[in-house]
């Protein structure tokens, strides 16, 4: 018993429980189709939460991910968009656009990181304001450049990412895996944890604290851009609105997984479980045909319960 509660697979067990709970009562829950939905649906969240995990580990927080999604989605579409796109039609369109999107994410991340690491501004406020700014910028861009709210007619090569479930899956899993290796097996990974534990001690021990912090936000930005790629391809549209609703889920998923908001504690694997759990719940509730306000309430309760379980089990483990 205590082994299960103590083990880091705990949340995965919760997932199985939730799964078992839904299966009998939820029409269409247990079916290949639904599983594909579930999987494809949770991919953007997965990538986002993974990026967020790296920031949380350094003791920071990145609220700007949703803005990054909107902005890079628009940027990408502006590059490869069919009608008025900068490279519309050309074979180079897709690679350049993807590069552009990732670059956008990296740049916004760089800005966040610079303000937080070098100007010592509180991460919460910095990313809150940049969220406002860049999502505004995304709308403004689309409006001024192509005089539209969103951009359609993206190259098929790009849309394949969304159409072919396995491609999206491959991309997301790859990204997650890279993040995992980075955290668990590389110098930067260890430095991220060290900074999260104690920046001053880290600095004195020769950790380039500022650099590492910036790195975390840049990575988070890039991962947000990847989520933007997934969403844009899936919805076949570049739009400033993509992913707006995801912010709280992202942090929720990471924390449910067991990542600490105070830094130094967290794993990509845990986040994967957290995301899986949240997605299972919302997918199941959806199929149960509950009214949307009930779904919202239950979501809140789930986050609460998960947090309580975490507190309870850390006590439990300490005790035994």
């Amino acid at each position: 018993m205590s082994r299960i509660i103590g083990s880091e697979f705990f949340v995965l067990f919760l997932c199985l429980i939730a799964f078992a709970a839904f299966a009998p009562f939820t029409p269409g829950f247990v079916s290949t189709g639904n599983f594909e939905n579930l999987l494809t649906a949770c991919l953007p969240l997965l990538v986002l939460a993974t990026g967020q995990t790296m920031v949380l580990i350094t003791g920071g927080i990145d609220l700007s991910v949703t803005a990054i999604i909107g902005l890079s989605s628009v940027v990408g579409a502006l590059v490869m968009g069919g009608e008025q796109g900068w490279l519309g039609g050309s074979p180079m369109a897709m690679p350049v656009a993807v590069a552009g999107m990732l670059a956008t994410g990296a740049l916004v991340g760089l800005f966040n990181g610079a303000c937080i690491a070098w100007l010592r501004m509180p991460a919460f406020m910095v990313t809150l304001t940049t969220t406002m700014f860049f999502s505004g910028l995304a709308v403004w861009l689309a409006k001024k450049v192509v005089n539209a709210e969103s951009i359609y007619h993206l190259p098929p090569a790009f849309l394949a990412l969304g159409a072919q479930a396995w491609m999206a899956l491959a991309l997301a899993v790859f990204a997650t895996f890279v993040a995992h290796v980075l955290l668990a097996r590389t110098l930067l990974g260890r430095w991220l944890y060290a900074v999260g534990h104690n920046p001053r001690a880290s600095l004195i021990s020769g950790v380039p604290v500022a650099g590492v912090t910036v790195g975390a936000y840049v990575l988070s930005g890039i991962f947000a851009a990847m989520a933007a790629i997934l969403l844009t391809a899936r919805l076949e549209t570049g739009s400033p609105n993509h992913g707006k609703a995801l912010l709280l889920d992202v942090i929720g998923a990471a924390v449910i997984g067991g990542t600490s908001l105070f830094g130094g504690k967290g794993k990509v694997l845990w986040t994967v479980y957290g995301v899986l759990f949240l997605s299972l719940i919302s997918n199941g509730l959806n199929l149960l045909n509950l009214s949307d306000f009930l779904i919202t309430i239950i979501k809140g309760v789930v986050i609460l319960v998960a947090a309580l379980l975490d507190v309870w089990r850390t006590r439990f483990v300490r005790g035994s």
Binding site: L119, G136, V255
Partner: protein, 330 residues
């Protein structure tokens, strides 16, 4: 040497928030002759009243290094119930009490989660945010409710020539500032925010203090909701949305630290709230391009936060102990 001549710079930065505020006013004033008028200013103040009140409550929580993301949801639930009651013909006074009661209740829930169950404030209130939003939509059935004019009357009523919302907000601010600076409770809050462990060792009633701040925050949310209602005259399903961020922003603009132990309600938080509203008001006045609103607003907020962090940065540097008095002007 750098340290010595950076003192005036520090003094400059101390005034920076106010300076920025004035600057914003002047710029808009220069661009629209209607902006810098008594009427418009009272109007801005009235518009700020609800945000200010909620932000006051938020300041209490931030002082203890906590945060309350659920204020907007609490407002919504309170407004929903009060609205239903009003439409059912209940007297205004009862509705008002209900809103405050809902606020108190919401605060209590958060308090229990944070103090008894030892949840991180961010997560606990994130969850209550979801739950509250959901309940609100359920209560209102996501229908917009148009309230009886008695609410609007409340908003447009005047006491000694001052709009009622302004009077209420003013009273809240004064009381809050008095509590923070003149009562044992207030001072103990600062202590708690500064060093929780030491606070416990010193035998401060930490649990009671924490509980209190979340209750205060909840009630302020309820009251803020009331002020908003009294001007809107209706409850839409978006009521109170993103208020939590406005409140936090206002507090931080006013120099409150997110890490506890530092901050004032007056002038700080109030200033922040008013600044937020004057930006929007000014943008409308000067007929700015609608697409630029978010860009300009966020830039100004960013500037304010930047200045504040530079200031505390400098403080730390000056805080370094001097060992020797340097002879002469070297």
């Amino acid at each position: 040497m750098r340290a010595s001549n950076s003192r005036p710079l520090l003094r400059l930065l101390d005034f920076a928030p106010v300076a920025l505020f004035v600057a914003v006013l002047l710029v808009f004033g220069a661009m629209s002759d209607k902006f810098l008028t008594a009427d418009n200013f009272t109007q801005i103040l009235v518009q700020s009243s609800s945000t200010a009140v909620v932000a006051v409550g938020m300041t209490f929580v931030l002082l203890t290094a906590g945060v309350d993301l659920s204020v907007g949801a609490i407002m919504f639930v309170g407004a929903g119930i009060a609205g239903k009651m009003a439409l059912a013909g209940q007297p205004l006074s009862l509705c008002v009490l209900t809103m405050l009661g809902v606020g108190l209740l919401g605060g209590a829930v958060n308090a229990v989660l944070v103090t008894r169950f030892k949840l991180v404030a961010f997560i606990a209130t994130l969850a209550t945010l979801y739950i509250g939003r959901g309940m609100g939509r359920w209560i209102t059935q996501t229908r917009a409710m148009n309230l009886p004019d008695s609410f609007l009357a409340l908003g447009s009523a005047k006491g000694l020539g001052v709009p009622l919302p302004l009077l209420i907000a003013g009273a809240v601010v004064l009381i809050a500032q008095w509590v923070l600076s003149m009562t044992p409770f207030g001072r103990q809050l600062y202590a708690l925010g500064n060093n929780p462990d030491a606070a416990r060792k010193a035998g401060l009633p930490t649990t009671r203090l924490l509980t209190a701040v979340y209750l205060v925050c909840g009630v302020c949310a309820g009251l803020g909701g009331l002020l908003a209602l009294s001007q809107l005259g209706s409850v839409s399903p978006k009521f109170g949305e993103l208020y939590e961020f406005d409140a936090i922003t206002a507090a931080v603009l006013g120099g409150t630290s997110l890490f506890g132990g530092r901050g004032r309600v007056f002038p700080g938080t109030v200033l922040g709230a008013v600044l937020l509203k004057s930006i929007f008001n000014g943008l409308v006045m000067v007929q700015a391009d609608p697409y630029l609103y978010p860009l300009i607003t966020s830039s100004i907020i960013f500037g304010a936060v930047l200045i504040d962090s530079l200031r505390s940065h400098l403080m730390v540097r000056l805080g370094r102990r001097k060992i020797r008095v340097e002879a002469g002007a070297n």
